[in-house]
C-alpha cells in the first residue's frame, strides 16, 4: 500500500533492477522501490503477494518471490500468459512498474522452528515456496532437515536453475530434482518421473516435519495422498492457492472459494483448510 496516500488502490512505483529469463516464457524481475521511505520501510512475510502494474495493461497477482530476509529489493516471477503478464514481459531493466501490497496471510515460519521441512513444487509454482526456502536457509540453524523435491515438464521449464545448483551444492539441503518422462536432455543429472512419484521414492520422514506444497492442481491432487501415506497429517501440510484477483484486499468479490477469500484469508492454507473448502478452485 502506498505510504503517502489514503487511496488503497494506489501502487508504489518500482524500478526494474534486473531481469532473469528463467525459461522462454517465465521471467524473474528484481525490483527496487523508487520512493526512499518505501524502500526503507517495506516489509513482508514469506507467502504474501502483491499486485504488479504494467501501466496501460493493468495489474497481475504474483507472490513476492524473494525472501523477506533480503533487504533493498523484492522479486517476482511470472509466466507470460495474459494481457498484463505479456506487457510485463515487454519491460526492460530501468523501466518502471507498480507494486501494491504486501497482501494476504503468510507461512507461519516461527511455528516451523525446530522442525524438518519438506518442500514439494512443480514447474512455475516454485516461486511461492522459493521465498520460504531462502527465508529458512537464511535462518538455517533454526530448522532440522530441509528436503526440496522440485520438478517440471522438461529441463527447460525448470525455474531458478542457478539456485537449484546452489541448493544442490550446499551441504545442508537435500535437493531432488526431476523432469517428466521424456523431459530430460542428454546431460540431465536429476531424476526422471512425475513429482508425486519421485516424492514417494524420496520418502522424507513425516516425523516432526512440515510439508509445503505448491503446484498445478493435478500435481497437488496426486501429491497430497503421497504425503498422507508418508504419515503427514493435514495440519502439517501447507500450500498456497491462487485465484483470479483484482483488488487483492477483500473487496471486489472475485477470488472467493466458498466463504474463503484467497486474498485475505489466504493465500497460504493448510491441507486441512483446503479440504474443508468447496472444491471450486
Amino acid at each position: 500500500m502506498c505510504e503517502h496516500s489514503k487511496n488503497i488502490y494506489l501502487p508504489n512505483l518500482a524500478t526494474i533492477d534486473a531481469i532473469v529469463e528463467e525459461t522462454p516464457d517465465v521471467r524473474t524481475l528484481r525490483l527496487v522501490f523508487q520512493d526512499e521511505q518505501v524502500r526503507d520501510n517495506f516489509s513482508f512475510r514469506a507467502g504474501q503477494f502483491a499486485e504488479y502494474s504494467a501501466f496501460g495493461a493493468g495489474e497481475s497477482t504474483f507472490c513476492i518471490a524473494s525472501s523477506p530476509t533480503r533487504e533493498g529489493y523484492i522479486e517476482c516471477c511470472f509466466r507470460a500468459s495474459g494481457r498484463v503478464t505479456e506487457a510485463l514481459r515487454g519491460l526492460e531493466v530501468g523501466d518502471t512498474l507498480g507494486v501494491r501490497g504486501p497482501y494476504g496471510n503468510s507461512f507461519p515460519i516461527e511455528d516451523f522452528f525446530g522442525k524438518n521441512l519438506v518442500f514439494v513444487a512443480g514447474g512455475i509454482a516454485l516461486p511461492p515456496l522459493r521465498t520460504v526456502i531462502w527465508n529458512c536457509l537464511d535462518l538455517r540453524e533454526k530448522f532440522g532437515d530441509i528436503t526440496i523435491v522440485y520438478g517440471a515438464k522438461t529441463e527447460a521449464d525448470l525455474v531458478y536453475k542457478h539456485e537449484l545448483k546452489e541448493w544442490q551444492q550446499r551441504g545442508d539441503v537435500k535437493l531432488v530434482k526431476t523432469v517428466d518422462p521424456g523431459g530430460n536432455g542428454p546431460e540431465w543429472d536429476g531424476k526422471v518421473g512425475f513429482v508425486p512419484t519421485i516424492l514417494e521414492e524420496a520418502a522424507p520422514s513425516a516425523e516432526n516435519s512440515i510439508a509445503l506444497v505448491c503446484g498445478p492442481p493435478i500435481m497437488i491432487k496426486f501429491t497430497l495422498p503421497v504425503l498422507e501415506r508418508l504419515g503427514f497429517s493435514d495440519d502439517a501440510i501447507y500450500t498456497t492457492l491462487e485465484n483470479r484477483m483484482k483488488c487483492g484486499l477483500g473487496k471486489c468479490g472475485r477470488c472467493n472459494v466458498g466463504n474463503v477469500y484467497v486474498c485475505k484469508d489466504g493465500p497460504v492454507f493448510t491441507a486441512k483448510q483446503v479440504k474443508a473448502m468447496p472444491q471450486e478452485f
Partner: protein, 335 residues
Amino acid sequence: MQKYISEQNFNALLDSLIKAGKRVVAPRMNAGTPLYEPITASGEMVMDQLPRRSGKEAFFPLCEDIMSYEKEGQKIELKDIDPARFPETVLVGVRPCDAAAIPVLDAVFSWDYKDEFFLERRNKTTVIGLACTRADDACFCTAVGLSPADPKGADLFLTPLAGGGYGCVTYSDKGEALVNANTELFKEPNDSGALPLAEPQSETFDLKRVKAWLDEHFEDPSWDSIATRCVGCGACAFVCPACHCFDIVDEGTEKAGKRRKNWDACGFWKFTHHASGHNPRDLQPKRYRNRIMHKFKYYDDKFGQTLCTGCGRCIRLCPVGIDIAAVLEAIMKDE
C-alpha cells in the same frame, strides 16, 4: 427528533440545498427511465416509482477513476484522486430496500483496508429515506426482516401522511443537522396519521434456516434446475442495492491513461476466468450458486449480515425470470 414537513416545504428544502451548491440526488426520469440522479430543481423528482437502479451509485459509482498514469521514457508519474473532492450530497427519496443496503456495504468496504472512495462519499452523504405505500409481487423486503417503513440506513426518514406532507424522524447526527439547519421548514408533528403502508405479500424467510441449508448444499442438483436458464448477464447484480463486486482496469495507452474501478458481476463467465484458461466457475449454475451463497451465506459468515434487502429488482429485470424469492421459498421447503 420527530417533525412534520409539508410537501411544499420539502420541495423548498431541496431547492435551497441545490442553491447552496449541494449535490441533491433524487428519483428523476432520465430518457423515460426513473433513476436516482442529481437534480437541478425539486420539480424534477418523481416519487411514485421505484427507481430502476438502487442509488448505490451515489457511494459506489458505475465507473470511477482511481488514479491516472503518465509515462515519460522509463519514468511513470501517477496522479492520485483526492477524496476531499467528493461533493457533499443529499440522497433523497430513498426507499427502505435501498437505504438498508448502505450500512450493510459498510462492512466490506471497511474490512481492514478502508476504501475511501466509498467511505468518504458515505461520510459526505445525508440519506433521506421514504416509506412505501405501494408494492408489487416482486417486493419481499418484509421476508428478509425489513419493512416498507424501516428507517435502516436513513439519516432522516419520511413517512407520507394521510393529510399530506411527511412525518419525519431523525436517526443520526446528520439527520438532526439537516433539520436544525432548516427549522423554518420543519414543523412540530401534527395528528395526521400515516398513509397505509405497502404490504408486500411474501412469506417470511427464516434467514438462519436458509443459511443452514446453504451450509450443507453446496453440491446439490437443484442448482442446475434453478440456474441452467440463467444467461449470464449482469442485470441482477447491477440493479441490486447490495451487490458490490467490481473490476479494476487500465484504460488508455501505454503513454497515458486512467485506472478505473467499474461495476462487475459474478454472473459473467469472465469473472473468475484465469489467463491460463482455467475457470473455477466455468458453468452458469456454478456462477448462480455463488450469487445465492454470497448473499445468504458468505456475507453472513464474514460480516454477520445478509446481502439482500428484498427490493425485487432482480426478479423484475431478470431476462429469464429467475426469481430469488422463489429460490428462497424452495430452500425453506426443503427438508
